[in-house]
């Protein structure tokens, strides 16, 4: 265990660890299992710094619902993992505490923003880790690190204690070495929480039971928009092989269309920054975290926030402030919400037509080199296949489907709202190929 932590420290994927942690109950489905928690999920005793200077050293006096549920299931909260600041990024390079490295290839990024949690599972530090999703922040690093990553249906898991980035998109997600581990972990954290008004009162089934569902009962949609001409040919080839194998095993494969998918990135980059600009207003130096005093109140706000937030966070706060401003709200935010409804409707219509799940590549490329992507827009395109599920609120999972030049790639299964059981059935099938 300690050797693992030391290796993880070399990869800069662990920000804080609790070496003396013990299970707080005598038994449970995760009894004595060490788990890693992303740095934006509130835990007692260890810092919750969101990869940001503005919260450096901040220790939460209360714990997130997911963490309490994990403790009640016997898990040991072993460490906090590195992330892009406030979950804004796709490489974990935008952490105030330095970039995390991909354990598969240390010259490459682990993906992000939950890169630390994905890397911790890939490096064998912990079998299960938790991250957060806003536009793909669990599935994309899972794909880059060769592990399983789940983005549950919006409302499936409590957000209480998850430091908000974009509240209408955020959802706590799960990493596992296997689909089975992820299914087990999700069941523990899922379910209604009276502390989160957006958490849904929908029963939580035993997701592991999905393992026995025959592949032949599944109708899998292949959304044509997710296989553009520009797609990395090696990834396309691998995806085609996967679909062929599933077909051979009796699954029905059907081409479908989600016509508004091309609008997802612009819509996402209006809604997410808009909500973020408001969610991050509380980091003002008044009550906790960094405070840099100046001449008067405004000077304190300006000094604290400009020193406390990194470039990417600042960029998104400015973008979000702009799109919510008087005179621009209708053109940007309202319009984006209208398009979001169309994207949601695309999924609803496809699932209503008899398709059980959709299969797509998780990312357009495998893990890239550290520093290779410097243009923000190019970085945003990492979310192109994942952010639709956040906008529409659907459940989705990334499962390793092989390697390209020795680098892991992921296949994504997208399911209807609260269709996790079907999603896991397809994921088990994918994993068994």
């Amino acid at each position: 265990m300690n050797a693992n932590f030391e290796r993880a420290a070399g990869l800069n994927i662990i920000l804080a660890e609790d070496r003396d942690a013990r299970p707080s109950v005598d038994e449970g489905p995760l009894y004595d299992v060490p788990v890693a928690i992303k740095d934006n999920i509130a835990t007692l005793r260890m810092p919750t710094s969101c990869g940001s200077r503005i919260l450096e050293g901040y220790v939460s006096p209360y714990e997130a619902t997911v963490v309490s549920r994990l403790r009640a299931a016997g898990a040991v909260i072993a460490c906090k993992t590195n992330m892009d600041e406030f979950a804004m990024g796709s490489s974990t390079e935008h952490s105030a505490f330095g970039p995390a490295l991909n354990p598969v290839d240390r010259t490459r990024v682990p993906g992000g923003s939950s890169g630390g949690s994905a890397a911790a599972v890939a490096a064998g530090v912990v079998p299960i880790a938790f991250g957060s999703e806003t536009g793909g922040s669990v599935r994309q690093p899972a794909a880059f690190c060769g592990v399983v990553g789940v983005k549950p249906t919006y409302g499936r898991v409590s957000r209480f204690g998850l430091v908000a980035f974009a509240s209408s998109l955020d959802q706590v997600g799960v990493f596992g070495k296997t689909v089975d581990d992820a299914a087990l972990a999700l069941r523990i954290i899922a379910g209604r929480d009276p502390m989160d008004a957006t958490s849904a009162d929908v029963p939580v089934p035993d997701y592991r039971a999905a393992a026995t569902r025959p592949v032949s009962t599944l109708t899998i949609g292949r959304p044509i928009e997710y296989f553009p001409d520009a797609l990395d040919p090696a990834i396309r080839e691998r995806c085609d092989e996967v679909l062929d194998r599933l077909r051979e095993q009796g699954a029905t494969i059907r081409d479908v269309s989600l016509p508004h998918s091309g609008l997802a990135i612009p819509v996402y980059y209006i809604i997410a920054p808009a909500e973020a600009s408001s969610n991050l207003a509380r980091f003002d130096g008044v009550r906790y975290g960094l405070r840099i005093t100046g001449e008067g109140l405004t000077a304190m706000y300006e000094a604290t926030r400009s020193k406390g937030f990194g470039t990417e966070v600042t960029r998104r706060i400015l973008l979000g402030t702009y799109v919510l401003s008087a005179g621009y709200y209708d053109a940007y935010y309202r319009k984006a919400q209208q398009v979001r409804a169309l994207i949601t409707e695309d999924f609803r219509r496809v699932f209503a037509s008899g398709v059980d799940v959709l299969f797509t590549p998780t990312t357009p490329t495998p893990a890239f080199k550290l520093g290779a992507v410097s243009d923000p827009y190019e970085m945003y395109l990492n979310d192109i296949f994942t952010c639709t599920a956040n906008l529409a609120g659907n459940a989705a999972i990334s499962v390793p489907i092989g390697t390209v030049n020795g680098l892991p790639i992921g296949g994504q299964i997208i399911a209807p709202h609260f269709g996790e059981q079907t999603m896991f059935a397809a994921a088990y099938a994918l994993e068994r190929l």
């Binding site: 934006n40 999920i41 509130a42 919750t48 969101c50 919260l55 901040y58 939460s60 006096p61 209360y62 997130a64 957000r159 209480f160 204690g161 998850l162 430091v163 908000a164 974009a166 509240s167 209408s168 009276p194 502390m195 989160d196 008004a197 957006t198 808009a274 909500e275 600009s277 408001s278 991050l280 207003a281 509380r282 980091f283 003002d284 008044v286 009550r287 906790y288 109140l297 706000y301 402030t321 919510l324 401003s325 008087a326 709200y329 935010y333």
Partner: protein, 456 residues
């Protein structure tokens, strides 16, 4: 001045009387030690989320219905974004384009909307030198904002509206409506225009008024200021004015406090507030009788004067006390006469017992003067009227021997008056009866005293 008319609309913030805050379980007790009534949610700690207080919704709906509003089946919370140290989240959860209720009416004034929101904390500037202290006990306390149409045409009318509003909110028991404690706060939009003009003039917003009479004075002062500006050919600038009650003047707020772009957007942490018809109707059914309806009923059922009705209706506990007394006594007029002189903060004597006392007056067993003495005793001793009358020996004395003895004494002590009375100056009879009553400590039966005097 008389060539201009004042146009006023009021925005009233009312703290709802809940045990816990609007979006968390922290208590709302007034006057607690600073920052004691707080939790991760109202301190806006990272990761905390709001959950709507169902009791706050019930009180808000009750208030909106009492103000004759249309309560909407779906309303939406929105974030009002601005930076201020006593606003911990950096935004206030409020309602914007889909408020809880619209289109009400009160005292002839249209009510544009009633919406729910949360209070901010308090900045304390005078406690530490060179520093501002923040108390977040009030942060997250539930409020309703009641926005009126610009329907009022004078400061007096605005005051009347506020008094009626306060009365209605007291009747439906949704708030303490105490301006001094800040549970009712008033901002006014004021403009002036030439008589006969139908277009609205440029308005200013007047704030910092802490009493109803302050509102009246502030509106008057701002109107005078605006008219002076207009008369001198100037233009009224749209701005926020602060009322200085000590100096009796309005002055512009620092420009910083204005022209916010609040960047409203729907609060993603709270689903839309959806109320069923049956929920709304149940609250409507449970509404108490409102002041207007009560006025009408008192006129018809008790035949009281407008003055009597207004005094009783203005004070709900007193009105309830009056009704019980009137029922027990079977005489509304006597009950009203007595109860009007009482204070709702001192209702120790139960209505049924007061009715017994008043019945004794009616039957002539005790005098009105004695009744007051007996009532004072009843408040302290808790004993019933009959017993107190006996203990204090205040039953009327009607036997002629005793009464004659008192009359003789009065005659001896006031020979001049007596002589004039006997000589035919009948108006002195009242004085003499009074002196006999005084001598008897209120026990003499005044009617018999009159009869005996006339026999002389």
């Amino acid at each position: 001045m008389s060539n201009y008319e004042m146009v006023v609309g009021l925005e009233v913030h009312v703290q709802l009387k809940t045990k816990t805050k609007a979006f968390c379980d922290s208590p709302t007790t007034f006057g607690a030690e600073p920052n004691v009534n707080t939790c991760p949610v109202c301190l806006a700690l990272p990761g905390a989320l709001p959950v709507l207080n169902a009791h706050a919704v019930e009180l808000a709906v009750r208030a909106a219905l009492a103000l004759g509003c249309n309560v909407h089946r779906t309303s939406i919370f929105a974030r009002k974004n601005y930076f201020y140290p006593d606003l911990p989240k950096g935004y206030q959860i409020s309602q914007y384009d889909r408020p809880l209720a619209t289109a009400g009416r009160l005292a002839g004034v249209g009510i544009t909307r009633v919406h729910m929101e949360e209070d901010a904390g308090k900045s304390i500037h005078d406690r530490y030198t060179g520093a501002t202290a923040i108390d977040l006990n009030r942060a997250g306390v539930p409020l309703i904002e009641i926005v009126s149409e610009p329907d009022m045409r004078s400061a007096q009318e605005a005051r009347r509206y506020l008094q009626t509003l306060k009365q209605v909110l007291e009747y439906v028991d949704v708030s303490d409506v105490d301006m001094e404690k800040g549970s009712l706060r008033v901002d006014a939009n004021v403009s002036a225009r030439r008589m006969g003009e139908t277009k609205l003039g440029t308005k200013t917003e007047v704030k910092n008024m802490n009493t109803f009479s302050g509102v009246e004075k502030a509106l008057e002062a701002e109107f005078v200021r605006q008219v002076a500006v207009l008369e001198s050919g100037g233009r009224v600038v749209q701005q926020t004015m602060l009322w200085d009650g000590a100096k009796g003047e309005v002055r512009p707020a620092r420009s910083k406090e204005e022209s916010h772009d609040y960047r409203y957007f729907p609060e993603p942490d709270l689903p839309p507030l959806v109320l069923s018809d049956s929920y709304i109707e149940e609250i409507r059914r449970a509404l108490p009788e409102l002041p207007d309806a009560r006025r009408t009923r008192y006129r018809e059922q008790y035949a009281l004067s407008d003055q009597e009705i207004d005094e009783l209706v203005a004070d709900q506990p007193l009105a309830a006390y009056f009704e019980e007394t009137a029922t027990a006594l079977g005489d509304a007029k006597s009950a009203a006469n007595w109860v009007r002189g009482m204070s709702s903060s001192a209702l120790a004597v139960r209505p049924a017992q007061l009715a017994e006392l008043l019945a004794m007056v009616k039957k002539g067993v005790i005098s009105h003067t004695a009744a007051k003495t007996i009532f004072d005793d009843m408040e302290k001793s808790g004993e019933r009227a009959e017993r107190v009358a006996d203990r204090l020996g205040l039953r009327k004395v009607g036997d002629d021997d005793t009464l004659r003895q008192w009359i003789v004494e009065v005659k001896a002590e006031n020979p001049t008056e007596w002589a004039r009375f006997v000589a035919g100056e009948t108006k002195l009879q009242k004085l003499l009866v009074g002196l006999v009553m005084k001598k008897s400590k209120g026990k003499a039966d005044p009617q018999r005293v009159n009869e005996l005097l006339l026999l002389h």
